[in-house]
């Protein structure tokens, strides 16, 4: 836009200037539009190719029989029939939920207690403790799974087995026993994520104003009452966040059983994502694997809805509680 300063016209300089400002505003709006769309376009282009297209194609593929090489064959709902009649699918869903509960629920409670301890005024060297507790999170899931596979080795000389041996307990074949496999996999999840969740709760606790605790103390609240009536209600958004991410993460567990029990998995530890992976990339049943992907998608939605329902309920009951 040229500057109207030097321009002389019949309408006079003021009119000219107004015109200029108006024009500039319009051209600025167009420019913002162009740059706006340009700046956000990479995401949408990538999402078109690697997001929406594969998702739609998954829904399509779920109705076909396909080994990846030969012609696709339309089979209707048969793929869903196959997986719903496959005991191993139900076993994988059961395992996913059990491992998720065992690895996540006690872990979140432990993280809460740990964060409360780390937040205490009585403790010195907080930075050091925080560092130690957080270190497992820096380890990759694969590394954790490998280390714990060796710790929970089936041999008598395995670390856990020889520890149990001290108490006269016979060695456990961890990879091949129903609860042994689940326990080992849950332990991996517990160990890696405990520090992560502790740090999040700690950040939440540090954002609680001290006056609330002071007021509680004046009212004669014990330490436990402070935790129960001040800390936990104030932490609600943080707890909801960790429960949400924990649930979604638990439903997608893959690396731990894949490494612990071998690439095809075993029925004691197979999870839904491992079931899907094995169907697709070990057996080349891409149709049934796509059907599993869709079922998994709906399972995640169902669990998210349940979580949201409880998150809202907790909010309401708290309000009722304060109304008393």
């Amino acid at each position: 836009m040229s500057s109207p300063k030097g321009a002389v016209s019949e309408n006079g300089p003021l009119e000219q200037k107004k015109q200029g400002v108006k024009e500039r505003k319009i051209s600025q709006r167009i420019r913002n539009m162009v740059s706006g769309y340009l700046f956000i376009s990479p995401f949408y282009l990538l999402f078109a190719v690697f997001g929406i297209f594969p998702i739609l194609f998954s829904f399509y593929l779920a109705f076909f029989r396909w080994d990846g090489l030969t012609e696709m064959e339309f089979v209707g709902l048969n793929n869903f029939n196959i997986i719903f009649n496959d005991p191993l699918f139900w076993k994988s869903l059961y395992n996913t939920i059990v491992i998720g509960l065992m690895g996540t629920a006690p872990q979140l409670i432990a993280a809460l207690i740990l964060a409360f301890a780390l937040n205490s005024v009585l403790v010195k060297y907080k930075g050091l403790f925080r560092l130690a507790v957080f270190l497992p999170y820096v380890t990759s899931i694969v590394a954790v799974a490998i280390v714990f596979s060796v710790i929970f080795s089936n041999q008598e000389s395995g670390l856990v087995n020889s520890f149990l041996g001290l108490f006269g307990i016979d060695p456990i074949t961890w990879t091949r026993s129903e609860w042994g496999a689940k326990f080992a996999i849950s332990a991996m999840i517990f160990w890696r994520w405990l520090g992560y969740n502790t740090i999040i709760y700690l950040a939440g606790m540090q954002s609680i104003p001290n006056d609330l605790y002071e007021a509680a103390k004046i009212d004669g609240a014990s330490l436990r009452q402070q935790l129960w009536y001040v800390t936990i209600p104030m932490l609600k958004p943080f707890i909801i966040f960790t429960v949400f991410t924990g649930t979604i993460g638990a439903l997608q567990v893959f690396a731990e059983p894949h490494i612990f029990q071998g690439r095809a998995g075993r029925e004691e530890g197979i999870t839904v994502v491992l079931y899907l992976y094995r169907d697709a990339f070990v057996s080349n049943f891409f149709g049934t694997a796509s059907a599993t992907a869709i079922v998994l998608f709906f399972i995640i939605i169902i669990f998210s809805v349940i979580n949201m329902y409880f998150a809202n309920r907790i909010g309401q009951s708290k309000k009722v509680g304060t109304g008393k």
Binding site: Q28, R31, S35, G36, F39, I40, L46, F50, G51, F53, P54, S58, L61, G68, I113, A117, S120, L122, V123, A132, V133, F134, L135, P136, V138, T139, S140, I141, V142, A143, V144, I146, V147, V150, I151, Q155, E156, S157, L159, S162, G165, W191, L194, I199, G204, F238, F241, T242, F254, A255, V273, L276, Y277, A280, F281, F286, S290, A293, L296, F297
Partner: protein
């Protein structure tokens, strides 16, 4: 007096708890090192060895004979740095657009991006694999890098950060001086959001470095594998050499631990910021 004793008891129990948890967190690292430095016949004895041995070099040599360890580390580094760099640029540009530029459909387009965050990555796994095959990118690092540049969380996060940290007045003033939107982004927004780059960069780098399922599916050629996929191959032997397995795992973990210890405040801040903002 009893108040004092109570405090002392509380102190003792707090320190006991924290020490036990800290030791439990650190023990696997120590034990990895013990295993990585002991010969196999020591590892298989009962009770197990608890002190480092002298086979540090020999065990690592076995790792090098078994998998292309350094190539895999390099592949992981290439993938993680390229994606992190790309994601920081793309998400901050998009975040700037959503935070400061007005254009039709802005809200709907932004909500759409938030919606994509709900989709589990496994849903499109199989077709994406065939797209990669069609593109001829199997066992090519691009198979991991290009889809990895798509980061909805990053856009959301950058938008929040830019909205609250870049004042509208500065942008208006720059416009008066005739700055283009890209110049405004580059000369005004980027310097202000450098802390956000550090935070988001750590989150993205960590996630990509540890990613397993997708690289496992598309990087089948051993020389193209990332370290996570390569490490798993150490578990393949029928008779497992635990000294070698944990040597590989230990040396693959050490670099990240060192970086973490150097920048631990930034790391921890990244994780909590990432959680609090969402």
């Amino acid at each position: 007096m009893s108040e004092k004793r109570k405090t002392l008891m509380a102190k003792i129990s707090l320190y006991t708890l924290l020490t036990v948890v800290a030791l439990a967190s650190l023990f696997p690292f120590y034990w990895m090192f013990v295993m990585a430095t002991n010969p196999n016949n020591m590892i298989n004895q009962t009770p197990p060895v608890m002190v480092p041995g002298s086979e540090l070099v020999a065990n690592f040599q076995n790792v090098l004979d078994s998998i292309p360890f350094f190539q895999a580390m390099l592949n992981s580094l290439i993938v993680a740095t390229t994606i992190t760099g790309g994601v920081l640029i793309l998400t901050s540009l998009a975040g700037f657009a959503f935070a400061k530029l007005h254009f039709p459909g802005r809200t709907v387009l932004f909500i759409f991006i938030l919606g994509t965050m709900m989709i589990p990555p496994q849903l499109g796994l199989i077709p994406t694999y065939f797209i990669i095959t069609e593109l001829g990118w199997l066992s090519d690092l691009r198979a991991v890098i290009v889809p990895g540049l798509m980061n909805a969380f990053g856009i959301f996060w950058m938008r929040q950060y830019i909205s609250s940290s870049v004042p509208d007045e500065i942008i208006e003033a720059a416009r008066m001086d005739g700055c283009s939107n890209f110049r405004i982004y580059w000369n005004i927004v980027v310097p202000v959001i450098l802390p956000a780059f550090a935070t988001l960069g750590i989150i993205v780098f960590m996630a990509i470095w540890g990613d397993y399922l997708w690289p496992l599916v598309v990087l089948q050629d051993q020389s193209m594998q990332t370290i996570q996929v390569a490490l798993r191959a150490l578990m393949d032997d029928r008779v497992r050499d635990y000294g070698m397995i944990l040597s590989g795992t230990f040396w693959a973990t050490v670099p990240l631990v060192v970086v973490f210890l150097l920048f631990n405040r930034l790391f921890i801040k990244s994780i909590t910021d990432g959680a609090v903002k969402s």
